[in-house]
Amino acid sequence: MIRVTNIHKSFGDLHVLKGIDATFMEGKTNLIIGKSGSGKTVFLKCLLGIHDIDEGDVDFDGRLISQMSIEDRRKLRLELGMVFQGSALFDSLTVEENVSFPLRMFTKKSAKEIAERTNFCLNRVNIENANHLFPAEISGGMQKRVAIARAIVMNPRYLFCDEPNSGLDPKTAMVIDELIQEITQEFNITTVINTHDMNSVLQIGDHVNFLVGGKKIWEGSKEDVLHTDNQELADFVFSSELFKKVRRAARSE
């Protein structure tokens, strides 16, 4: 579980995060939603330690980030998996080398063990016969799945995804969402997903946090989203006619 307490982050005069409290539960897909510029990505990068927090704290299962030494933080990073918006696969490495990279860098496993674990992860995300292809030679959906395989190869306790289905067609986006949810439950990972895809919210939102202007103004489950009276959230999630119909149908049940 990750517990965030009153975190603030500014860049110069720009106050981006204005005291966010949140809890991300184990074995659940925890979503952060909000408009562009609401602070979602900065919030995620603060959790990952890419940005230092100005104020507040992040508690990773009893380990406060404010009390960690640099070495402790590096050890914690070995427990984190991250799926970037653009996949961030290493261009010069093949699919197999990308997935096995953390194992080769940080473990003393034999080549056979590394190959087994790599193939297990690639099979888990349904990638076949692509081990020796380079990222530029595979589709966007496959790149996302390889990125997920790389993120889980070290058996992370925490998985972070920054808009994992951006740029994908609706069907592939759904496949990616389902895959992340399955992996979260299967390996009991604390998963935090940053998204503004409303299909994801209604499909895999075990716990949803809604950010507006650097503040969290609402939280609840995907079912709560359907029945919310929060006008700002409703305007954001149900902005299209299709989602308005979905909401009306859910409310009339």
Binding site: L48, G49, I50, R74, K75, R77, L78, L80, M82, F84, Q85, G86, A88, L89, F90, D91, S92, F101, P102, R104, M105, F106, F160
Partner: protein
């Protein structure tokens, strides 16, 4: 404003260098990266260096021959002038300037692209010392391989001078060989190689600095690659003057 920006750049450059020279997480992975960079930055420059050296050696010989066309001056002076020009300046400095363009833009654009496509952040999230892992092997590869390139350049420059000088009838083979052996100072080779090692460090580290800190997208990657080549060329010329003053002055 301009001075402030230069001072900021210098400060950030030294902070980056402190991050680059840290103990590797995994020597095997660094070795693999080093071998890859040795091939990409060094071996792949061999063709360019060979062609340029051969023809510049020829041009230096022909121009020297034309300028020394005087019955009082022995022909073997052409070979002495060619040898000194190539060993002292052309191979270590001019070839390094050419490499600043080729290798420098390669390093800056590779790292810049990795930055804007979040590959460097991906390394950092994994816990990899990104600056060290990405830059140290490149610096090591160039510092080790550039002297080899420069020795090859010296050899081919002189061979080019010999071939074109003798084939055009400007100097005989005997005079050329005699000139090459006359008044030879072995320290000049050491001077050239010392310069090359320093230039290799300047080119790779400055280009890496401009690539590593790119912000934005494709346009900024291109802009920073240009800045990397300009800055490393300027620092190289300045360092050339300082080293010449120190070692030969």
């Amino acid at each position: 404003m301009f001075i402030k920006r230069i001072l900021e750049d210098i400060g950030r450059y030294f902070i980056l260098m402190k991050l680059v020279f840290r103990r590797p997480d995994n020597y095997r992975m660094y070795w693999d990266a080093f071998v890859r960079d040795l091939y990409n930055l060094g071996v792949k420059s061999l063709g360019l260096v060979a062609i340029i050296s051969l023809f510049v050696g020829a041009v230096v010989t022909i121009q020297t021959a034309l300028n020394l066309e005087n019955p009082i001056i022995p022909k073997y002076y052409i070979a002495i002038a060619t040898r000194e020009s190539i060993i002292l300046e052309f191979s270590p400095t001019m070839i390094s300037l050419i490499l600043a363009g080729k290798v420098g833009s390669n390093i800056a654009s590779t790292l810049g692209t990795m930055r804007v496509s979040e590959q460097i952040e991906a390394l950092e999230v994994m816990g990899v010392k990104s600056a060290s892992f990405l830059i140290m092997p490149k610096i090591a590869a160039c510092v080790i391989f550039n002297p080899i390139l420069i020795i090859i350049s010296m050899f081919l420059g002189i061979v080019g001078g010999y071939i074109f000088g003798t084939s055009t009838g400007m100097i005989t083979g005997t005079d050329f060989i005699k000139g090459l052996q006359m008044d030879y100072t072995p320290f000049y080779i050491a001077y050239a190689l010392i310069k090359t090692v320093v230039f290799a460090f300047v080119i790779t580290s400055i280009s890496a600095y401009y690539g590593f800190f790119v912000k934005g997208g494709a346009i900024e990657v291109g802009e920073n690659s240009t800045k990397a080549v300009v800055a490393s060329s300027l620092v190289l010329i300045l360092t050339n003057y300082l080293l010449t003053q120190l070692l030969l002055g």
